[in-house]
């Protein structure tokens, strides 16, 4: 379709709105970046907006001071990749099963699944469960509890349902097994929504620290986020009970504050996951329904 003059005016208006949105959305991240490169004590004074006032790498140094962080990074990557792949695959599979309107257990399974979004048994029973499954302090405690997500299933199912029904039907007539239909037809057709779900799962897995803390506190299994939570928690305490450092000395000290650490940590934790999306984005194209039909 060729764009008319009216279209161009509308485009211009939308672009204008989007530019404002971009500024509002980008600025806080930019500000966080700036603060992460600014001297921590200086940052307390405020007034840092677009550019660091006192450059330093010290905030990052205090995060990367040990090799623990690199190991934790690898653990984070591993758990994120594995969780994402498995969760997307199984959520999609279940969504496909539930998309069969006449499936005899559709209702039961759906209710059974949906309720998991709202019930919460509490931490202690959960701990006991994982312990009896032998998951405590094991890598698998990151993976197994999040193999399927009810929310994701619903979202994928809705997407499948909004696809032309004839596609799935035609595949069935060919006598293909359900698993094969899922792998060879549904997955390619659902790429946009699977990419969305993948993003959700990946971000969730990447950002979580609480499960490390409670279920896998072992140092070897520590994740990036958990390591950084540790650094922040300890920085809150600095100087409170250590009389050694409370003197009115004139030493200009190199120091960190929870705020600056948090800024640096946000950047370190966000950048890897931020670069994921542009890769997923390429699946966000309208599927060419015609070609699937053949």
């Amino acid at each position: 379709m060729k764009k008319t003059f009216g279209d161009k005016v509308i485009d211009a208006i939308i672009v204008f709105i989007m530019c404002i949105v971009v500024i509002i959305m980008l600025y806080p991240m930019w500000n966080t970046l700036v603060i992460s490169f600014n001297d921590a004590l200086d940052s307390i004074k405020g007034g840092i907006y677009f550019w660091p006032r006192k450059w330093t790498l010290y905030n990052y140094q205090s995060i990367f001071k040990t090799d623990k962080i690199f190991r934790a990074f690898l653990i984070s990557v591993a758990r994120t990749l594995l969780t994402t792949v498995l969760n997307v695959f199984f959520s999609g599979l279940l969504a496909y099963v539930l998309s069969h309107k006449n499936f005899v257990f559709r209702k039961h399974l759906t209710v059974f699944m949906v309720m998991t979004m709202y019930i919460n048994a509490g931490l202690i029973p959960q701990y006991f469960l994982y312990r009896s499954l032998g998951l405590i302090n094991k890598f698998w405690v990151y993976i197994l509890p999040s193999l399927v997500g009810a929310f994701n299933v619903i979202v994928i199912r809705t997407y499948i349902n909004s696809l032309p029904a004839s596609l799935v039907e035609s595949a069935k007539i060919d006598g293909a097994g359900e698993l094969r239909i899922y792998c060879s037809i549904i997955i390619p057709m659902c790429l946009p929504v699977l990419a969305t779900v993948a993003l959700w799962v990946a971000v969730g897995a990447w950002n979580s620290w609480f499960d490390s803390y409670i279920f896998a506190p072992k140092q070897e299994l520590s994740t990036l986020q958990y390591e950084m939570m540790k650094i922040i928690a300890s920085s809150m305490q600095m100087g409170i009970k250590q009389p050694d450092y409370l003197t009115e000395s004139q030493t200009s000290r190199n120091t960190v504050t929870p705020n600056s650490l948090r800024a640096a940590m946000t950047i370190v934790a966000t950048v890897p996951i931020l670069v994921v999306y542009p890769f997923l984005q390429k699946y966000f194209v309208t599927i060419n329904i015609g070609s699937v039909k053949e």
Binding site: F103, A121, P192
Partner: protein, 315 residues
């Protein structure tokens, strides 16, 4: 339920035989949900005890409905419920509308604006990655009387004569939470709509164009109906979370005497009442049970309404 009743036993088995592979695939899922989500439900018995972690199960003191009584008879309970539902509704309404509009507008960026679209999209979900404590810091910066940009703008443009103490006025608090939520999650939430839009058959747009619909007409008559089922399903699911109005933001920005009356949500209430006290775990569990029951009722209600309107349903 309706379908299984209408289907006779014989037909059921006939269908079931045909769906052997589907059933086979379902079984592991049943088992999985049972183990990971339902098995720990024995923990709900905590709500009826004065649970002490270091006692064995049979050594616990059973208190019946005491914790529920404490919950419902607390004069503060109704206040925090009001706050929770109030903020939740604002979040729900603002969140949905803005994310959908944003997705629709983004979708309009086609042709040579495609790359611009990708950039906007990538940037729009950045706030999602900022922790609440950073976000709250920014919010109070912006709203500050001292050097806050909003007060500056309002003052210079002559809209106000005196600086407003935004964070100290109860009447603003819910809206501050609402708009901050919008800002933080609009881009992120719009991703799902953009994905849904991809399932729309391009022929429909062409047909609409032939029918003489303009840009907004097509948006209204093609795109929006195309993602309607997604919207409704998400609405139903979110309605179930009506008692989750958030926690951190209210806690960080609202824990001062000036706005405490409107800022406390049920989660904060439970934390305060349960924290470190005898039966703290139990009280929390009781509150969790209450939330689950409310969620389920609302969920079923919304689902019913959707069914009556003949829309996409959750269950």
């Amino acid at each position: 339920m309706a379908t299984s009743k209408t289907v006779s036993k014989k037909e059921f088995w006939k269908l079931a035989r045909k769906q052997k592979s589907l059933i086979l695939i379902s079984i592991p899922f049943f088992i999985y949900f049972f183990i990971f989500n339902y098995l720990p439900l024995w923990g709900l018995t905590l709500a009826f005890q004065n649970y002490k972690p270091y006692h064995k199960f049979w050594e616990q003191e059973w208190v019946g409905l005491l914790h529920f009584k404490n919950l419902f008879t607390d004069p503060d309970f109704y206040r925090v419920m009001r706050n929770t539902i109030g903020m939740s509704l604002i979040n729900l309404a603002l969140g949905f509308i803005t994310a959908i509009i944003f997705a629709l507008l983004l979708n309009e960026l086609t042709g040579n604006l495609y790359h611009f679209k990708r950039v906007v999209q990538t940037i729009s979900y950045m706030p999602h990655f900022l922790s609440w404590i950073i976000v709250c810091g920014l919010v109070s910066n912006i709203l500050s009387m001292d050097d806050g940009i909003l007060n500056e703008i309002l003052l210079r443009s002559g809209l106000i004569k005196e600086k407003i103490h935004f964070l100290g006025k109860p009447e603003y608090f819910w809206w501050i939470v609402g708009f901050t939520n919008v800002w933080k999650s609009m881009g992120w939430n719009s991703i799902i709509y953009l994905a849904a839009i991809t399932s729309i058959d391009p022929c429909l747009y062409e047909a609409a164009a032939i029918d003489g619909y303009g840009r907004f007409g097509r948006m209204w008559h093609v795109t929006l109906p195309g993602i309607k089922s997604t919207i409704i399903v998400l609405l139903i699911m979110n309605a179930g979370w009506i008692l989750n109005a958030g926690f951190e933001m209210q806690y960080i920005l609202g824990s001062n005497g000036l706005v405490l009356d409107v800022s406390e949500t049920i989660d904060i209430f439970v934390l305060k009442r349960g924290f470190g006290r005898s039966g703290g775990f139990s009280f929390g569990t009781a509150a969790g049970m209450f939330k689950t029951v409310v969620s389920t009722i609302i969920l079923l209600l919304c689902n019913k309404i959707a069914a009556l309107l003949d829309e996409e349903r959750l269950v």
